[in-house]
Protein backbone atom coordinates (compact mmCIF):
# COMPACT_ATOMS: atom_id res chain seq x y z
CA UNK A 1 0.00 0.00 0.00
CA UNK A 2 1.60 3.25 -1.12
CA UNK A 3 1.41 6.62 0.53
CA UNK A 4 -0.82 7.98 -2.23
CA UNK A 5 -3.49 5.35 -1.59
CA UNK A 6 -3.60 6.38 2.01
CA UNK A 7 -4.56 9.97 1.28
CA UNK A 8 -4.67 11.60 -2.13
CA UNK A 9 -3.69 15.12 -1.02
CA UNK A 10 -0.27 13.93 0.14
CA UNK A 11 0.83 13.34 -3.45
CA UNK A 12 -1.21 15.87 -5.34
CA UNK A 13 -0.99 19.43 -4.09
CA UNK A 14 -4.44 20.46 -2.92
CA UNK A 15 -5.63 23.23 -5.26
CA UNK A 16 -8.82 25.13 -5.94
CA UNK A 17 -10.78 23.46 -8.69
CA UNK A 18 -10.30 24.72 -12.23
CA UNK A 19 -13.72 26.33 -12.50
CA UNK A 20 -13.07 28.58 -9.49
CA UNK A 21 -9.70 29.64 -10.78
CA UNK A 22 -11.11 30.34 -14.21
CA UNK A 23 -13.78 32.53 -12.70
CA UNK A 24 -11.37 34.54 -10.57
CA UNK A 25 -9.04 34.96 -13.52
CA UNK A 26 -11.79 36.08 -15.80
CA UNK A 27 -13.15 38.65 -13.40
CA UNK A 28 -9.69 40.12 -12.76
CA UNK A 29 -8.84 40.20 -16.46
CA UNK A 30 -12.16 41.79 -17.38
CA UNK A 31 -11.88 44.34 -14.63
CA UNK A 32 -8.38 45.23 -15.66
CA UNK A 33 -9.32 45.49 -19.31
CA UNK A 34 -12.21 47.82 -18.69
CA UNK A 35 -10.02 49.87 -16.37
CA UNK A 36 -7.40 50.20 -19.09
CA UNK A 37 -10.05 51.07 -21.63
CA UNK A 38 -11.24 53.85 -19.34
CA UNK A 39 -7.85 55.40 -18.74
CA UNK A 40 -6.66 54.90 -22.31
CA UNK A 41 -7.11 58.58 -23.31
CA UNK A 42 -5.16 59.70 -20.27
CA UNK A 43 -2.38 57.26 -21.10
CA UNK A 44 -2.29 58.48 -24.67
CA UNK A 45 -1.78 62.10 -23.67
CA UNK A 46 0.76 61.04 -21.07
CA UNK A 47 2.73 59.04 -23.57
CA UNK A 48 2.48 61.53 -26.45
CA UNK A 49 5.57 63.61 -25.51
CA UNK A 50 7.67 60.46 -25.06
CA UNK A 51 6.45 59.21 -28.43
CA UNK A 52 7.37 62.50 -30.04
CA UNK A 53 10.77 62.56 -28.43
CA UNK A 54 11.50 58.99 -29.42
CA UNK A 55 10.34 59.50 -33.01
CA UNK A 56 12.42 62.64 -33.25
CA UNK A 57 15.52 60.90 -31.97
CA UNK A 58 14.99 57.97 -34.30
CA UNK A 59 14.46 60.23 -37.30
CA UNK A 60 17.60 62.14 -36.43
CA UNK A 61 19.74 59.04 -36.20
CA UNK A 62 18.27 57.30 -39.22
CA UNK A 63 18.05 60.21 -41.66
CA UNK A 64 21.40 61.87 -40.92
CA UNK A 65 24.11 60.62 -43.33
CA UNK A 66 26.09 57.81 -41.75
CA UNK A 67 29.39 59.62 -42.11
CA UNK A 68 28.24 62.48 -39.89
CA UNK A 69 26.80 60.15 -37.27
CA UNK A 70 29.97 58.08 -37.20
CA UNK A 71 32.14 61.18 -36.87
CA UNK A 72 29.93 62.51 -34.07
CA UNK A 73 29.97 59.23 -32.18
CA UNK A 74 33.74 58.90 -32.49
CA UNK A 75 34.18 62.48 -31.27
CA UNK A 76 32.03 61.79 -28.23
CA UNK A 77 33.88 58.55 -27.55
CA UNK A 78 37.23 60.30 -27.83
CA UNK A 79 36.32 63.19 -25.56
CA UNK A 80 34.76 60.88 -23.00
CA UNK A 81 37.64 58.41 -22.89
CA UNK A 82 40.62 60.47 -24.16
CA UNK A 83 41.94 57.21 -25.52
CA UNK A 84 42.91 56.59 -29.14
CA UNK A 85 42.65 52.85 -28.64
CA UNK A 86 39.02 52.98 -27.59
CA UNK A 87 38.19 55.45 -30.38
CA UNK A 88 39.88 53.34 -33.02
CA UNK A 89 38.20 50.17 -31.74
CA UNK A 90 34.82 51.91 -31.89
CA UNK A 91 35.44 52.99 -35.50
CA UNK A 92 36.27 49.43 -36.49
CA UNK A 93 33.19 48.06 -34.72
CA UNK A 94 30.80 50.54 -36.33
CA UNK A 95 32.29 50.03 -39.80
CA UNK A 96 31.96 46.28 -39.43
CA UNK A 97 28.31 46.67 -38.50
CA UNK A 98 27.82 49.05 -41.43
CA UNK A 99 29.29 46.80 -44.11
CA UNK A 100 27.05 43.92 -43.07
CA UNK A 101 24.08 46.13 -43.96
CA UNK A 102 22.90 46.70 -40.42
CA UNK A 103 23.55 50.46 -40.22
CA UNK A 104 19.89 51.48 -40.22
CA UNK A 105 18.87 48.85 -37.70
CA UNK A 106 21.76 49.88 -35.53
CA UNK A 107 20.61 53.51 -35.65
CA UNK A 108 17.13 52.49 -34.51
CA UNK A 109 18.60 50.55 -31.60
CA UNK A 110 20.96 53.42 -30.93
CA UNK A 111 18.15 55.97 -30.69
CA UNK A 112 16.21 53.66 -28.42
CA UNK A 113 19.15 53.17 -26.06
CA UNK A 114 19.97 56.88 -26.06
CA UNK A 115 16.43 57.91 -25.22
CA UNK A 116 15.92 55.22 -22.60
CA UNK A 117 19.24 56.01 -20.93
CA UNK A 118 18.37 59.70 -20.83
CA UNK A 119 14.98 58.95 -19.31
CA UNK A 120 16.45 56.49 -16.83
CA UNK A 121 19.00 59.07 -15.66
CA UNK A 122 16.34 61.79 -15.43
CA UNK A 123 14.08 59.54 -13.39
CA UNK A 124 16.73 57.63 -11.46
CA UNK A 125 18.90 60.44 -10.21
CA UNK A 126 16.25 62.41 -8.29
CA UNK A 127 14.93 59.21 -6.75
CA UNK A 128 18.46 58.18 -5.80
CA UNK A 129 19.09 61.59 -4.25
CA UNK A 130 15.87 61.38 -2.22
CA UNK A 131 16.86 57.90 -1.05
CA UNK A 132 20.24 59.16 0.09
CA UNK A 133 18.85 62.20 1.90
CA UNK A 134 15.84 60.57 3.56
CA UNK A 135 16.15 57.20 5.25
CA UNK A 136 12.39 56.76 5.05
CA UNK A 137 12.48 56.91 1.26
CA UNK A 138 15.29 54.38 1.27
CA UNK A 139 13.28 52.00 3.43
CA UNK A 140 10.37 52.18 0.99
CA UNK A 141 12.44 52.06 -2.20
CA UNK A 142 14.79 49.21 -1.35
CA UNK A 143 12.22 46.40 -1.46
CA UNK A 144 10.71 47.89 -4.62
CA UNK A 145 14.13 47.90 -6.28
CA UNK A 146 14.78 44.36 -5.09
CA UNK A 147 11.59 43.20 -6.77
CA UNK A 148 12.37 45.16 -9.94
CA UNK A 149 15.83 43.66 -10.20
CA UNK A 150 14.79 40.06 -9.60
CA UNK A 151 11.72 40.13 -11.85
CA UNK A 152 12.52 38.29 -15.09
CA UNK A 153 12.70 40.72 -17.98
CA UNK A 154 9.90 39.03 -19.88
CA UNK A 155 7.53 39.57 -16.97
CA UNK A 156 8.01 43.34 -17.32
CA UNK A 157 6.42 43.16 -20.70
CA UNK A 158 3.10 41.81 -19.41
CA UNK A 159 1.75 44.86 -17.54
CA UNK A 160 3.38 47.20 -20.03
CA UNK A 161 1.64 45.57 -22.96
CA UNK A 162 -1.64 45.41 -21.05
CA UNK A 163 -1.59 49.11 -20.22
CA UNK A 164 0.26 50.68 -23.12
CA UNK A 165 -0.37 48.21 -25.90
CA UNK A 166 2.17 47.19 -28.48
CA UNK A 167 4.75 49.42 -30.16
CA UNK A 168 7.86 51.46 -29.72
CA UNK A 169 6.74 53.50 -26.72
CA UNK A 170 5.59 50.54 -24.61
CA UNK A 171 8.92 48.96 -25.47
CA UNK A 172 10.72 52.10 -24.37
CA UNK A 173 8.80 52.17 -21.10
CA UNK A 174 9.70 48.54 -20.43
CA UNK A 175 13.34 49.28 -21.15
CA UNK A 176 13.40 52.31 -18.86
CA UNK A 177 11.76 50.43 -16.00
CA UNK A 178 14.24 47.61 -16.45
CA UNK A 179 17.28 49.90 -16.67
CA UNK A 180 16.51 52.43 -13.93
CA UNK A 181 17.27 50.47 -10.71
CA UNK A 182 21.09 50.57 -10.98
CA UNK A 183 20.89 54.31 -11.63
CA UNK A 184 18.82 54.79 -8.48
CA UNK A 185 20.94 52.49 -6.36
CA UNK A 186 24.30 53.86 -7.41
CA UNK A 187 23.20 57.49 -7.03
CA UNK A 188 22.05 56.66 -3.52
CA UNK A 189 25.26 54.76 -2.75
CA UNK A 190 27.51 57.46 -4.19
CA UNK A 191 25.96 60.16 -2.03
CA UNK A 192 26.01 57.99 1.08
CA UNK A 193 29.69 57.23 0.57
CA UNK A 194 30.66 60.91 0.91
CA UNK A 195 32.58 61.09 4.17
CA UNK A 196 30.92 62.44 7.27
CA UNK A 197 33.83 64.82 7.94
CA UNK A 198 33.59 66.47 4.55
CA UNK A 199 29.89 67.11 5.08
CA UNK A 200 30.58 68.38 8.57
CA UNK A 201 33.12 70.82 7.13
CA UNK A 202 30.59 72.16 4.64
CA UNK A 203 28.07 72.53 7.42
CA UNK A 204 30.55 74.20 9.76
CA UNK A 205 31.19 76.89 7.15
CA UNK A 206 27.47 77.52 6.85
CA UNK A 207 26.42 75.60 3.75
CA UNK A 208 22.69 75.06 3.26
CA UNK A 209 21.29 71.63 2.43
CA UNK A 210 21.11 72.61 -1.24
CA UNK A 211 24.69 73.92 -1.27
CA UNK A 212 25.85 70.73 0.39
CA UNK A 213 24.07 68.64 -2.24
CA UNK A 214 25.29 70.55 -5.29
CA UNK A 215 28.72 71.57 -4.04
CA UNK A 216 29.81 68.51 -2.10
CA UNK A 217 27.61 65.43 -2.31
CA UNK A 218 26.86 65.26 -6.04
CA UNK A 219 30.37 66.12 -7.26
CA UNK A 220 31.91 63.56 -4.92
CA UNK A 221 29.31 60.96 -5.88
CA UNK A 222 29.83 61.57 -9.60
CA UNK A 223 32.17 58.63 -10.29
CA UNK A 224 29.68 56.26 -8.64
CA UNK A 225 26.80 57.90 -10.48
CA UNK A 226 28.72 57.41 -13.73
CA UNK A 227 29.02 53.71 -12.89
CA UNK A 228 25.23 53.78 -12.58
CA UNK A 229 24.90 55.38 -16.01
CA UNK A 230 27.17 52.70 -17.43
CA UNK A 231 25.02 49.94 -15.89
CA UNK A 232 21.88 51.62 -17.16
CA UNK A 233 23.24 51.69 -20.71
CA UNK A 234 24.18 48.03 -20.54
CA UNK A 235 20.79 47.03 -19.23
CA UNK A 236 18.98 49.13 -21.84
CA UNK A 237 20.90 47.33 -24.56
CA UNK A 238 19.99 43.96 -23.13
CA UNK A 239 16.36 44.91 -22.76
CA UNK A 240 16.10 46.47 -26.22
CA UNK A 241 16.50 42.99 -27.66
CA UNK A 242 13.81 41.54 -25.40
CA UNK A 243 11.54 44.50 -26.09
CA UNK A 244 11.50 43.58 -29.79
CA UNK A 245 8.80 41.12 -28.71
CA UNK A 246 6.41 44.03 -28.19
CA UNK A 247 7.27 45.79 -31.40
CA UNK A 248 10.55 47.62 -30.93
CA UNK A 249 12.50 47.67 -34.21
CA UNK A 250 16.22 47.60 -34.83
CA UNK A 251 18.78 44.91 -34.16
CA UNK A 252 16.59 43.22 -31.56
CA UNK A 253 13.80 42.64 -34.08
CA UNK A 254 16.26 40.92 -36.43
CA UNK A 255 17.40 38.68 -33.59
CA UNK A 256 13.81 37.77 -32.78
CA UNK A 257 13.01 36.98 -36.40
CA UNK A 258 16.15 34.87 -36.68
CA UNK A 259 15.07 32.84 -33.68
CA UNK A 260 11.59 32.31 -35.12
CA UNK A 261 12.87 31.37 -38.59
CA UNK A 262 16.19 29.74 -37.68
CA UNK A 263 18.24 32.30 -39.67
CA UNK A 264 21.60 31.41 -38.23
CA UNK A 265 23.84 34.00 -39.93
CA UNK A 266 21.49 36.95 -39.53
CA UNK A 267 20.96 36.10 -35.89
CA UNK A 268 24.66 35.86 -35.13
CA UNK A 269 25.48 39.08 -37.01
CA UNK A 270 22.79 41.07 -35.23
CA UNK A 271 23.73 39.57 -31.92
CA UNK A 272 27.35 40.58 -32.38
CA UNK A 273 26.28 44.04 -33.49
CA UNK A 274 24.52 44.50 -30.12
CA UNK A 275 27.62 43.23 -28.34
CA UNK A 276 29.82 45.64 -30.30
CA UNK A 277 27.66 48.62 -29.37
CA UNK A 278 27.64 47.48 -25.76
CA UNK A 279 31.43 47.27 -25.66
CA UNK A 280 31.83 50.73 -27.18
CA UNK A 281 29.40 52.30 -24.72
CA UNK A 282 30.93 50.45 -21.81
CA UNK A 283 34.56 51.31 -22.55
CA UNK A 284 33.80 54.94 -23.26
CA UNK A 285 31.65 55.54 -20.19
CA UNK A 286 34.00 53.63 -17.89
CA UNK A 287 37.01 55.54 -19.14
CA UNK A 288 35.07 58.73 -18.51
CA UNK A 289 34.22 57.62 -14.98
CA UNK A 290 37.87 56.83 -14.28
CA UNK A 291 38.92 60.23 -15.52
CA UNK A 292 36.46 61.90 -13.15
CA UNK A 293 37.98 60.03 -10.28
CA UNK A 294 41.55 60.89 -11.08
CA UNK A 295 42.12 63.98 -9.02
CA UNK A 296 41.37 62.34 -5.74
CA UNK A 297 43.77 59.50 -6.15
CA UNK A 298 46.70 60.47 -3.97
CA UNK A 299 49.90 61.69 -5.50
CA UNK A 300 49.23 60.96 -9.16
Amino acid sequence: MSLCDFADFVCRFPAFNDADIRMVRKSIDDGFRSFVREIAPAIDTLVAPIQKFLNGAEALFVSTPWIIILAAILLVVYFASRSWAITFGSAVAFCAIGVTGLWNDMMITFSMVTVSTLLAVLIGMPIGICMALFNGVQRVMNPILDVMQTLPSFVYLIPVVMVFGIGKVPGLIAVVIYAVPPMIRLTNLGIRLVSEETLEAAEAYGASAWQKLCGVQLPLALPTIMAGVNQTIMMSLAMVVVASMVGVGGLGKNVLQSINNQFFTVGILNGFAVVAIAIVFDRASQAYGRRLQKHWEAGK
Binding site: T198, A202, A204, Y205, G206, S208, H295, W296, K300
Partner: protein, 336 residues
Amino acid sequence: MSDIIRVRNLIKIFGPRAGDYVDKVRNGMSKRELNEEHGHVLGLYDINMSVPAGEILVVMGLSGSGKSTLIRHINRLIDPTDGEILCDGTDITRLNDRELRDFRQRRMAMVFQKFALLPHRTVNENVGYGLELQGISPEERRRRAGEWIERVGLHGYGDLFPNQLSGGMQQRVGLARALTSNADILLMDEAYSALDPLIRVDMQNMLLDLQKELKKTVVFITHDLDEALKLGNRIVILREGVINQQGTGEEIVLNPANDYVASFVKEVNRGRVLTIEHLAGRAGPASTSFRLDRATSLQQALRAMGAAGTEIAEVVDGSRVLGTVGYRNIVDVMVQ
Protein backbone atom coordinates in the same frame (compact mmCIF):
# COMPACT_ATOMS: atom_id res chain seq x y z
CA MET B 1 39.18 90.88 28.85
CA SER B 2 35.56 90.10 28.00
CA ASP B 3 34.34 86.59 27.33
CA ILE B 4 33.13 86.05 23.81
CA ILE B 5 31.71 82.56 24.23
CA ARG B 6 30.03 81.39 27.38
CA VAL B 7 28.76 77.87 27.89
CA ARG B 8 26.26 77.51 30.71
CA ASN B 9 25.00 74.33 32.37
CA LEU B 10 25.38 72.40 29.15
CA ILE B 11 24.12 68.82 29.17
CA LYS B 12 24.24 66.46 26.24
CA ILE B 13 22.51 63.10 26.39
CA PHE B 14 22.58 60.82 23.34
CA GLY B 15 19.51 58.73 22.73
CA PRO B 16 15.98 58.85 21.35
CA ARG B 17 14.34 60.33 24.47
CA ALA B 18 17.26 62.41 25.69
CA GLY B 19 15.10 65.30 26.91
CA ASP B 20 13.27 63.09 29.42
CA TYR B 21 16.41 62.36 31.36
CA VAL B 22 17.78 65.87 31.87
CA ASP B 23 16.11 66.33 35.26
CA LYS B 24 17.05 62.86 36.43
CA VAL B 25 20.67 63.45 35.50
CA ARG B 26 20.64 66.84 37.20
CA ASN B 27 19.25 65.14 40.30
CA GLY B 28 22.16 62.78 40.44
CA MET B 29 21.45 59.81 38.19
CA SER B 30 24.83 58.35 37.34
CA LYS B 31 26.20 58.01 33.84
CA ARG B 32 26.27 54.27 34.34
CA GLU B 33 22.67 53.97 35.50
CA LEU B 34 21.53 56.11 32.58
CA ASN B 35 23.35 53.86 30.17
CA GLU B 36 22.60 50.44 31.61
CA GLU B 37 19.01 50.92 32.68
CA HIS B 38 17.75 53.48 30.19
CA GLY B 39 19.98 52.94 27.16
CA HIS B 40 21.02 56.59 26.90
CA VAL B 41 24.56 57.92 26.88
CA LEU B 42 25.61 60.93 28.89
CA GLY B 43 27.95 62.85 26.58
CA LEU B 44 28.51 66.03 28.54
CA TYR B 45 27.45 66.92 32.05
CA ASP B 46 26.99 70.40 33.41
CA ILE B 47 29.64 72.15 31.36
CA ASN B 48 30.35 75.73 32.38
CA MET B 49 33.16 77.52 30.69
CA SER B 50 33.97 80.75 28.98
CA VAL B 51 36.33 81.73 26.24
CA PRO B 52 37.92 85.17 26.55
CA ALA B 53 38.10 87.18 23.33
CA GLY B 54 41.42 87.02 21.54
CA GLU B 55 42.77 84.10 23.56
CA ILE B 56 43.39 80.43 22.98
CA LEU B 57 41.34 78.12 25.15
CA VAL B 58 42.45 74.52 25.02
CA VAL B 59 40.07 71.72 25.93
CA MET B 60 42.13 68.69 26.87
CA GLY B 61 40.83 65.19 27.33
CA LEU B 62 41.42 61.63 26.25
CA SER B 63 39.30 59.88 23.66
CA GLY B 64 35.76 59.47 24.88
CA SER B 65 36.02 62.45 27.18
CA GLY B 66 33.50 64.40 25.11
CA LYS B 67 35.88 67.08 23.88
CA SER B 68 34.89 66.74 20.21
CA THR B 69 31.24 66.73 21.24
CA LEU B 70 31.83 69.89 23.23
CA ILE B 71 33.47 71.83 20.40
CA ARG B 72 30.67 70.82 18.02
CA HIS B 73 28.18 72.45 20.38
CA ILE B 74 29.84 75.81 19.92
CA ASN B 75 28.88 75.97 16.23
CA ARG B 76 25.91 73.69 16.82
CA LEU B 77 26.97 70.84 14.61
CA ILE B 78 25.51 69.06 17.63
CA ASP B 79 22.47 70.41 19.44
CA PRO B 80 22.61 70.47 23.23
CA THR B 81 20.03 68.58 25.26
CA ASP B 82 19.94 71.31 27.87
CA GLY B 83 21.78 74.48 28.77
CA GLU B 84 22.83 77.48 26.75
CA ILE B 85 25.73 78.60 24.62
CA LEU B 86 26.11 82.35 24.43
CA CYS B 87 28.14 84.10 21.83
CA ASP B 88 28.35 87.85 22.44
CA GLY B 89 25.22 87.46 24.53
CA THR B 90 23.20 85.69 21.82
CA ASP B 91 22.05 82.21 22.74
CA ILE B 92 23.01 80.26 19.64
CA THR B 93 20.84 77.33 20.65
CA ARG B 94 17.87 79.52 19.77
CA LEU B 95 18.97 80.52 16.28
CA ASN B 96 16.80 79.34 13.40
CA ASP B 97 18.29 77.62 10.34
CA ARG B 98 19.00 80.74 8.37
CA GLU B 99 20.43 82.65 11.32
CA LEU B 100 22.58 79.65 12.21
CA ARG B 101 24.01 79.43 8.69
CA ASP B 102 24.71 83.13 8.71
CA PHE B 103 26.35 82.83 12.11
CA ARG B 104 28.55 79.95 10.96
CA GLN B 105 29.56 81.81 7.82
CA ARG B 106 30.53 85.04 9.51
CA ARG B 107 31.62 84.23 13.03
CA MET B 108 33.05 80.73 13.12
CA ALA B 109 35.61 78.75 11.20
CA MET B 110 36.63 75.21 11.93
CA VAL B 111 39.75 73.10 11.40
CA PHE B 112 39.32 69.34 11.46
CA GLN B 113 41.50 66.46 12.61
CA LYS B 114 41.20 64.66 9.29
CA PHE B 115 41.45 67.94 7.35
CA ALA B 116 38.01 67.43 5.70
CA LEU B 117 38.99 69.23 2.52
CA LEU B 118 36.89 68.88 -0.61
CA PRO B 119 38.87 66.45 -2.78
CA HIS B 120 37.35 67.63 -6.07
CA ARG B 121 38.44 71.22 -5.58
CA THR B 122 41.87 72.73 -5.89
CA VAL B 123 43.69 74.12 -2.87
CA ASN B 124 42.66 77.64 -3.82
CA GLU B 125 39.02 76.67 -4.24
CA ASN B 126 39.10 74.88 -0.90
CA VAL B 127 40.59 77.86 0.86
CA GLY B 128 37.97 80.15 -0.68
CA TYR B 129 35.09 77.86 0.28
CA GLY B 130 33.96 79.95 3.23
CA LEU B 131 33.91 83.09 1.08
CA GLU B 132 31.97 81.25 -1.61
CA LEU B 133 29.25 80.43 0.89
CA GLN B 134 29.26 84.06 1.96
CA GLY B 135 28.51 85.00 -1.64
CA ILE B 136 31.82 86.71 -2.44
CA SER B 137 32.71 87.00 -6.14
CA PRO B 138 35.11 84.44 -7.68
CA GLU B 139 37.91 86.95 -8.38
CA GLU B 140 37.79 88.35 -4.86
CA ARG B 141 37.71 84.80 -3.48
CA ARG B 142 40.72 83.78 -5.51
CA ARG B 143 42.69 86.80 -4.45
CA ARG B 144 41.95 86.51 -0.75
CA ALA B 145 42.48 82.74 -0.75
CA GLY B 146 45.80 83.28 -2.53
CA GLU B 147 46.95 85.65 0.21
CA TRP B 148 46.30 83.14 2.96
CA ILE B 149 47.84 80.31 0.96
CA GLU B 150 51.02 82.41 0.95
CA ARG B 151 50.74 83.13 4.65
CA VAL B 152 50.57 79.47 5.64
CA GLY B 153 53.57 78.70 3.45
CA LEU B 154 51.94 77.01 0.49
CA HIS B 155 53.15 79.36 -2.21
CA GLY B 156 52.69 77.77 -5.62
CA TYR B 157 50.38 74.98 -4.47
CA GLY B 158 47.11 76.81 -5.13
CA ASP B 159 46.17 74.87 -8.24
CA LEU B 160 46.92 71.38 -6.93
CA PHE B 161 44.32 69.04 -5.52
CA PRO B 162 44.40 68.26 -1.76
CA ASN B 163 45.36 64.63 -2.25
CA GLN B 164 48.50 65.67 -4.04
CA LEU B 165 49.73 67.21 -0.78
CA SER B 166 51.18 65.66 2.38
CA GLY B 167 49.20 65.58 5.61
CA GLY B 168 50.97 68.59 7.07
CA MET B 169 50.36 70.60 3.91
CA GLN B 170 46.72 69.57 3.83
CA GLN B 171 46.28 70.86 7.34
CA ARG B 172 47.86 74.14 6.29
CA VAL B 173 45.14 74.29 3.67
CA GLY B 174 42.60 73.57 6.41
CA LEU B 175 44.01 76.42 8.49
CA ALA B 176 44.10 78.77 5.50
CA ARG B 177 40.46 77.94 4.76
CA ALA B 178 39.55 78.83 8.33
CA LEU B 179 41.50 82.10 8.28
CA THR B 180 40.25 83.17 4.87
CA SER B 181 36.62 83.01 5.96
CA ASN B 182 37.51 85.96 8.19
CA ALA B 183 35.58 84.61 11.15
CA ASP B 184 36.72 85.87 14.53
CA ILE B 185 36.25 82.54 16.27
CA LEU B 186 38.39 79.58 15.33
CA LEU B 187 37.41 76.06 16.35
CA MET B 188 40.23 73.55 16.05
CA ASP B 189 39.20 69.96 16.60
CA GLU B 190 42.37 67.94 17.28
CA ALA B 191 43.73 69.88 14.37
CA TYR B 192 47.29 68.63 14.78
CA SER B 193 46.72 65.18 16.23
CA ALA B 194 47.07 63.41 12.89
CA LEU B 195 50.42 65.01 12.07
CA ASP B 196 53.99 63.82 12.62
CA PRO B 197 55.62 65.24 15.78
CA LEU B 198 57.99 67.60 13.95
CA ILE B 199 55.31 68.93 11.62
CA ARG B 200 53.02 69.30 14.58
CA VAL B 201 55.54 71.55 16.34
CA ASP B 202 55.85 73.62 13.16
CA MET B 203 52.12 74.04 12.96
CA GLN B 204 51.86 74.94 16.66
CA ASN B 205 54.49 77.63 16.20
CA MET B 206 52.74 78.93 13.10
CA LEU B 207 49.47 79.18 15.01
CA LEU B 208 51.15 81.07 17.85
CA ASP B 209 52.86 83.45 15.39
CA LEU B 210 49.63 84.11 13.52
CA GLN B 211 47.77 84.53 16.78
CA LYS B 212 50.10 87.31 17.94
CA GLU B 213 48.94 89.34 15.01
CA LEU B 214 45.37 88.15 14.42
CA LYS B 215 44.09 87.88 17.99
CA LYS B 216 41.39 85.41 17.07
CA THR B 217 39.38 83.67 19.70
CA VAL B 218 40.47 80.06 19.46
CA VAL B 219 39.01 76.93 20.97
CA PHE B 220 41.56 74.19 20.52
CA ILE B 221 40.87 70.54 21.24
CA THR B 222 43.70 68.14 22.02
CA HIS B 223 44.50 64.94 23.86
CA ASP B 224 48.07 66.04 24.42
CA LEU B 225 48.78 68.01 27.59
CA ASP B 226 52.11 69.29 26.26
CA GLU B 227 50.28 70.75 23.27
CA ALA B 228 47.66 72.20 25.59
CA LEU B 229 50.27 73.85 27.78
CA LYS B 230 52.15 75.22 24.82
CA LEU B 231 49.18 76.77 23.07
CA GLY B 232 46.61 77.52 25.73
CA ASN B 233 46.16 80.77 27.57
CA ARG B 234 43.62 78.78 29.52
CA ILE B 235 43.09 75.03 29.71
CA VAL B 236 39.98 73.03 30.45
CA ILE B 237 40.48 69.41 31.41
CA LEU B 238 37.59 67.18 30.48
CA ARG B 239 37.02 63.62 31.61
CA GLU B 240 34.03 61.46 30.78
CA GLY B 241 31.98 64.50 29.89
CA VAL B 242 32.74 66.42 33.09
CA ILE B 243 35.13 69.32 33.53
CA ASN B 244 37.75 68.30 36.08
CA GLN B 245 39.71 71.51 36.20
CA GLN B 246 40.10 74.78 34.35
CA GLY B 247 42.73 77.44 34.67
CA THR B 248 46.05 78.57 33.26
CA GLY B 249 48.65 75.95 32.47
CA GLU B 250 50.68 76.98 35.44
CA GLU B 251 47.74 76.73 37.83
CA ILE B 252 46.97 73.24 36.62
CA VAL B 253 50.56 72.04 36.85
CA LEU B 254 51.08 73.51 40.30
CA ASN B 255 47.70 72.64 41.80
CA PRO B 256 46.08 69.70 40.05
CA ALA B 257 42.49 69.47 41.21
CA ASN B 258 42.40 65.70 41.59
CA ASP B 259 44.39 62.51 41.05
CA TYR B 260 43.31 62.25 37.45
CA VAL B 261 44.73 65.66 36.58
CA ALA B 262 47.78 64.98 38.75
CA SER B 263 48.56 61.82 36.82
CA PHE B 264 48.70 63.84 33.62
CA VAL B 265 50.69 66.66 35.10
CA LYS B 266 53.31 64.26 36.44
CA GLU B 267 54.69 63.66 32.96
CA VAL B 268 54.93 67.31 32.07
CA ASN B 269 58.26 69.09 31.61
CA ARG B 270 57.82 71.58 34.41
CA GLY B 271 60.88 73.60 33.44
CA ARG B 272 59.22 74.60 30.22
CA VAL B 273 55.73 75.21 31.55
CA LEU B 274 56.30 77.02 34.82
CA THR B 275 57.50 80.58 35.02
CA ILE B 276 59.64 82.12 37.72
CA GLU B 277 56.91 84.54 38.75
CA HIS B 278 55.55 82.42 41.58
CA LEU B 279 59.06 81.77 42.87
CA ALA B 280 59.80 85.46 43.40
CA GLY B 281 60.85 86.02 46.98
CA ARG B 282 62.04 82.47 47.59
CA ALA B 283 65.65 83.52 47.92
CA GLY B 284 65.14 86.24 50.49
CA PRO B 285 66.60 89.71 50.30
CA ALA B 286 69.79 89.94 48.33
CA SER B 287 71.25 92.50 46.08
CA THR B 288 71.87 91.51 42.52
CA SER B 289 71.86 93.37 39.28
CA PHE B 290 70.79 90.31 37.30
CA ARG B 291 67.14 90.65 36.33
CA LEU B 292 64.71 88.26 34.72
CA ASP B 293 61.20 88.99 33.47
CA ARG B 294 58.46 87.28 35.45
CA ALA B 295 57.28 85.37 32.35
CA THR B 296 60.64 83.61 31.94
CA SER B 297 60.30 79.83 32.10
CA LEU B 298 62.32 77.93 34.67
CA GLN B 299 64.41 76.36 31.94
CA GLN B 300 65.28 79.68 30.35
CA ALA B 301 66.01 81.16 33.74
CA LEU B 302 68.50 78.40 34.59
CA ARG B 303 70.16 78.79 31.24
CA ALA B 304 70.44 82.55 31.59
CA MET B 305 71.72 82.40 35.17
CA GLY B 306 74.21 79.71 34.22
CA ALA B 307 75.46 81.76 31.32
CA ALA B 308 75.78 84.87 33.50
CA GLY B 309 77.47 82.90 36.26
CA THR B 310 75.07 84.13 38.93
CA GLU B 311 73.35 82.19 41.71
CA ILE B 312 70.57 84.66 42.27
CA ALA B 313 68.29 86.86 40.18
CA GLU B 314 65.64 89.51 40.61
CA VAL B 315 62.22 88.73 39.19
CA VAL B 316 60.77 91.84 37.62
CA ASP B 317 57.52 92.93 36.07
CA GLY B 318 58.60 95.79 33.86
CA SER B 319 60.51 98.00 36.27
CA ARG B 320 58.80 96.67 39.40
CA VAL B 321 60.83 94.15 41.39
CA LEU B 322 58.74 91.20 42.63
CA GLY B 323 61.44 89.47 44.64
CA THR B 324 64.51 87.38 44.23
CA VAL B 325 64.98 83.79 43.22
CA GLY B 326 67.95 81.48 43.58
CA TYR B 327 69.34 78.88 41.19
CA ARG B 328 68.74 76.27 43.87
CA ASN B 329 65.03 77.23 44.27
CA ILE B 330 64.42 76.75 40.61
CA VAL B 331 66.10 73.36 40.48
CA ASP B 332 64.05 72.22 43.49
CA VAL B 333 60.77 73.09 41.81
CA MET B 334 61.76 71.45 38.57
CA VAL B 335 62.61 68.07 40.06
CA GLN B 336 59.74 68.09 42.54
